[in-house]
């Protein structure tokens, strides 16, 4: 199954005005503390780091840990002076990496 992410941006963004970005990525966020129905330990599998960049400049980042739910949902506020490209990346255990980009149009 392909990895999926949903990113919600406001339709119109004004220069210098804060806007909300909402992101979620499909990931099990297995803590490593659980057992399967058969009793075997489920290996830890977490998203470790999320980064959001605007034209390459880091504007938001988060470290994620075992207490965060499956399909981690992050909402944060940004302010932009000009249009550009927002890029999102999630890194995790077992080489997990998912990238998305969204154009940002500032009026």
């Amino acid at each position: 199954m392909a990895t999926r992410a949903v990113i919600t941006l406001p339709a119109a963004v004004k220069a210098g005005e804060a806007f909300e970005v909402r992101t979620t990525v499909a990931h099990a966020m297995e803590t490593g503390y659980r057992s399967s129905d058969e009793g075997a330990r489920l290996l830890r599998d977490l998203v470790r780091r999320f980064e959001c960049r605007l034209d390459g400049e880091l504007v938001f980042a988060a470290n994620l840990f075992a207490a965060i739910s499956a399909n981690p949902y992050l909402a944060f506020w940004l302010r932009a002076g000009k249009s550009g490209e927002l890029s999102f990346v999630w890194h995790g255990d077992n080489g997990f990496e998912h990238r998305e980009t969204r154009p940002l149009t500032v009026a």
Binding site: M1, R4, A5, V6, T8, R22, T24, V25, A26, A28, M29, S69, A70, N71, Y73, A75
Partner: protein, 241 residues
């Protein structure tokens, strides 16, 4: 005599008003989670469902066309088609008969995603499970199951969800057991799940033998529950704690 009828009418009305969807008993934060599409934890599944809807040469879209055309379809299940069939069951049949693909396993991610997507199209519409001689028979069986004590705890569905609805079991509120929001994203499951999964959870909760997926018992109970919730507005996919 007249006042007796009036009393009865008032009592029936009061009873009708007492019906309360599970979503209205949740915390404001959870209600927002369900009401706001940009926060809904099932949004990933819905995106997957839309992909699945259009996937392949013989896709769902190639027969059904626009997704919006299925508005109201989910409100009319379980139905009778050479046997009882619920919404995920209908999707499975479509997949096997018309798409010539192997059926998915119960609770497979794409199956739940499609069921949630189809159910979402009926948002705001009242549940209208169909009627018919076979369906009436199955619903009667469902009602019997609903009121029969089972399991090591010797409890029937009705004892909790009719007689003790609104009270607490441990820290959790006992809901009236309405089925207006299925499939639901349950935070405890960290995923979408069907009504059958919910019912099987209750069965193992009372330490009863858990009925097989798509068994006659589960489907009959689903049908009875749909009739019990008939007329309530669907807001699928739901969010539940």
């Amino acid at each position: 005599m007249r006042s007796a009828w009036l009393l009865l009418a008032v009592a029936l009305l009061a009873h009708a008003e007492e019906r309360r969807s599970g979503r209205d008993t949740m915390s404001p934060a959870l209600r927002t989670l369900q009401a706001d599409d940009a926060q809904h934890p099932a949004q990933l599944a819905l995106a997957m469902g839309r992909e699945q809807w259009a996937a392949g040469a013989k896709s769902c879209a190639s027969c059904h066309g626009e997704l919006e055309k299925l508005r109201g379809a989910a409100a009319r299940y379980p139905a009778w088609d050479q046997g009882l069939v619920d919404l995920p069951g209908r999707i499975q049949r479509c997949r096997v008969r018309h798409q010539q693909q192997p059926a998915w396993a119960a609770e497979a991610e794409p199956l739940l995603a499609l069921a949630a997507l189809v159910a979402q199209q009926s948002r705001g519409l009242p549940l209208q499970p169909p009627r018919g001689p076979e369906l009436d028979k199955a619903a009667a069986q469902g009602q019997r199951l609903y009121t029969t004590r089972i399991g090591a705890l010797n409890l029937s569905c009705a004892q909790c969800h009719d007689e003790r609805a609104g009270q607490r079991l441990g820290g959790s509120l006992i809901p009236q057991g309405h089925v207006d929001d299925y499939p639901v994203y349950r935070l405890e499951w960290q995923s979408l799940g069907s009504l059958q999964r919910r019912l099987r959870g209750c069965l193992s909760g009372v330490r009863a033998k858990v009925w097989d997926w798509d068994s006659g018992e589960l489907l009959a109970l689903e049908l009875y529950l749909a009739r019990r919730s008939a007329g309530m507005a669907m807001q699928a996919p739901g969010v539940r704690p």
